[in-house]
Amino acid sequence: MDFSLSMEHEILRKSVRDFSEKEIKPVARELDEKEEFSYDTMRAMAGLGLFGMFVSEEYEGQGMDYISYIIATEEIARVDGSHAATIAAGNSLGTGPLYYYGTEEQKRKYLPEACRGETLWAFGLTEPNAGSDAGNTQTTAILDGDEWVINGSKIFITNGATDITAGTVSLCRTGTRKDGKPELTCIVVEKGTPGFEAREMHGKLMWRASNTSELYFDDCRVPKENLLGPIGDGFHQMLGTLDGGRLSIAAMGLGGAQGAFEMGMKYSKERVQFGRPISTFQVNAFKLADMATEIECARLLLYKACWLRDNEKPFAKHAAMAKLYCSEVMGMCVDHAVQLHGGYGLMKEYDIERFYRDHKLLEIGEGTSEVQRIVISRLIDAV
C-alpha cells in the first residue's frame, strides 16, 4: 500500500493553492456579500484549465484522472465554497453528462468551449416537487414530428443563468414504461431556444457567489436529436453523474474543513486571553486535534473513493460515504473554528463566518445526508 500522491498531483495541488490564495481569496468575501458571480475569477479559473479536467484532450479537456479534479476542487474550497461550486458544477454536473453520455456530434459541438471555460452547462434534475425524490420528475417532453415539446420547470440549478451558460441537460418524462413507471430521458436544451428561460435565484444563505437558477420550459421545442443517449436512460444517467458529483461535494467538504482548521489554528495561536494564546488551553487544543484527525480520515476516505473510480472499480458506496462524511466533518470543523474565534467568528471580517454558512449546503445538495444514508444502507444490504 502506498499513500503518497504522485509528483503530478503534488504539482497540481501547489499550483491551484497558489492560484486560489492569490486570485480567489482576496475577492471571495466581497463577492459573497454582494451575492455576485464573478466573470473575472471564472476566466482566471478557466485559464488555469479547471473546466474540463477529466475530459479527454480530444475535446480540449485536460485529460486528467478524477483525483486530480478532486484535488483542484478541494484546494479552491479551502479558500471559498462558491468558487468551488462553480468548478464542481462545471465539471462533474456540466461537462460530465455530455462527455459520458453524449453523441459524438454533441461532444464535438459542446465540449471544447465548455472545457476552455468559455461556456457553462447546467444539470437540470431537481424540481419543486422532485428533490430527494428525483424520479418524480414532472417536466414533460412530447415528441411532435421532429421536435420535442418540453413543459415544466427546474429549481436550484447551479450555473444555470450566467451570461456564459450555453444550456442545460435536463431530465424529462418522455412517456410511461411497460412497468407503469415514468420513462425519464435527458434532453439537451440550448440557451436561446424559444420557450426556455433561466432566472437567477437570490437570497441564498450560502454559495452566494455561485449562480443558482430556476429553469422554465414553456412549449419549448428542441430537435429530436437533442436526446442525450437512448430514450429512457435519463434517470440512470443522472444517478451515474451524481455518483461522480458526490465526490466533488466531498472535496468541497474536505477543502472547507481544511480551510476552517487553518483559520482556527492561526487565530487561536494569535489570540491572547488570560495572558496566553488560547491554543494553549487544552480545551481549545483538543478542538484542533479533533479537527486534524477528522480531516485526515475524511481525506483518506475521499481519496480511496477516487482511487476506486480511477481504477474502474465500483465506487458508488464509497462516493456516498465520502460525501456524507466529508460534509459532516466540515460541519464540525466550522463549528469548532467559529467557537475558537469567539465573537469575532460571527463577524463578516473573518472568512470563517462565510465558511460557517457555506458548509450547510454540503449536507443538502446532490443528495441530502439522509439520502446518502439511504444509499449506503442499501449498498451494504442493511435494508
Binding site: L12, L50, A72
Partner: protein, 273 residues
C-alpha cells in the same frame, strides 16, 4: 512570429530575510510550486514573468513559436517548466559548471551565442532587471552582442507585425512611443501586463521527462572556457554587503510658522519649488 524570452531563476525575496549581524541570507523553509522538497524557494524573476506573459499573448494573437532560455544550475529547469506551464512552447536550459560565476558580460555572451544558434527570431523579450542582481544590464548587453535595436522599459506593445513594432516605454517623468524594425530586443516592466498562472495540465506535462526542454552545455554552444563563466567575466566580485542605509530624516524645530518657513527654504534650495 518567433519569440525568445530570456528568464532567470532567483531566490524568492519575499520569503528571505537578511541576517543583520552576519549580512547573509536567511532562507525560510518555504516550498516552491514545482518542487515541494526544494526548501530554498526559487521563483521566476518577477519582471521575466511579465516577459513570458507578453510572449504568450503575442503568440496567441499572431501565431508563431515562443521559446524561453535560462542559464543556471540544473534546478533552473523548474523555472523553465513553469514558463511552459504558462504557454511557452519550448525551453532551453543552459547549464554547465563552466557557466558558473559569470558576470553580466559573460552571461550576455552566453545567451547571445544561444540566440545565434537558434537563428530564427523576430523578437527577444527580457524582464527589465533581476531582483537579485538589480543591474538591468543583460537585456541591453544581449542586444549589443546580437547587433539588434533595443527598446527598454517597455510598458505596452501598441502595434506589431512581421516587419515592425511600436511600443510605449516608461521614462522617469512620462512615456514615449517608439517604433523599431524587427528583429528587436525589448525589456519590459511590471506595468505591461498581469502574468497568468500556469495552466495545470501544461505545467504537469512540463515537469515530465518528455517535456519540450533542451539542455545545452558549453560544448553545444561551441564556446570556450575563457569566454564564459568566471573565465569570461570582465569584473570580479570582491565582497558583497548590505548597504548601511542611514535614514536621512530630519526633524525641523520651532513653532508652526518657523517650521513651515524652514521647509519652504529647503524646498527652494533643492529646486523642488
Amino acid at each position: 512570429m518567433n519569440i525568445i524570452v530570456l528568464i532567470k531563476q532567483v531566490p524568492d525575496t519575499t520569503e528571505i530575510k537578511i541576517d543583520p549581524k552576519t549580512g547573509t541570507l536567511i532562507r525560510e523553509g518555504v516550498e516552491s510550486i514545482i518542487n515541494p522538497d526544494d526548501r530554498h524557494a526559487s521563483i521566476i524573476n518577477p519582471d521575466d514573468r511579465h516577459a513570458i506573459e507578453l510572449a504568450v499573448s503575442l503568440k496567441q494573437d499572431h501565431g508563431g513559436k515562443a521559446r524561453v532560455i535560462s542559464m543556471g544550475p540544473p534546478q533552473t529547469i523548474d523555472a523553465i517548466s513553469e514558463a511552459l506551464g504558462m504557454g511557452i512552447d519550448e525551453g532551453i536550459l543552459l547549464t554547465d559548471r563552466n557557466f558558473g560565476g559569470a558576470d553580466t558580460w559573460a552571461t550576455a555572451y552566453t545567451l547571445g551565442k544561444t540566440i545565434e544558434k537558434i537563428k530564427k527570431y523576430d523578437l527577444v523579450i527580457c524582464g527589465r532587471q533581476a531582483i537579485d542582481g538589480d543591474t538591468a544590464q543583460i537585456g541591453p548587453q544581449v542586444a549589443e552582442f546580437l547587433n539588434l535595436p533595443q527598446l527598454t522599459y517597455v510598458t505596452q506593445v501598441e502595434q506589431i507585425n512581421e516587419k515592425r513594432i511600436v511600443v510605449q516605454r516608461a521614462l522617469e517623468d512620462g512615456y514615449e512611443r517608439m517604433e523599431s524594425p524587427l528583429p528587436v530586443l525589448i525589456t519590459v516592466i511590471g506595468e505591461i501586463n498581469k502574468p497568468r498562472h500556469p495552466r495545470v495540465d501544461f505545467l504537469i506535462n512540463a515537469c515530465k521527462d518528455k517535456a519540450n526542454i533542451k539542455i545545452w552545455d558549453a560544448a553545444d554552444l561551441g564556446v570556450t572556457v575563457q569566454e564564459i563563466g568566471l573565465g569570461g567575466s570582465l569584473t570580479r566580485v570582491i565582497k558583497t554587503f548590505s548597504p548601511k542605509i542611514k535614514r536621512g530624516g530630519e526633524i525641523l524645530k520651532g513653532n508652526k510658522e518657523e517650521v513651515v518657513n524652514q521647509l519652504i527654504d529647503r524646498l527652494h534650495e533643492k529646486h523642488f519649488i
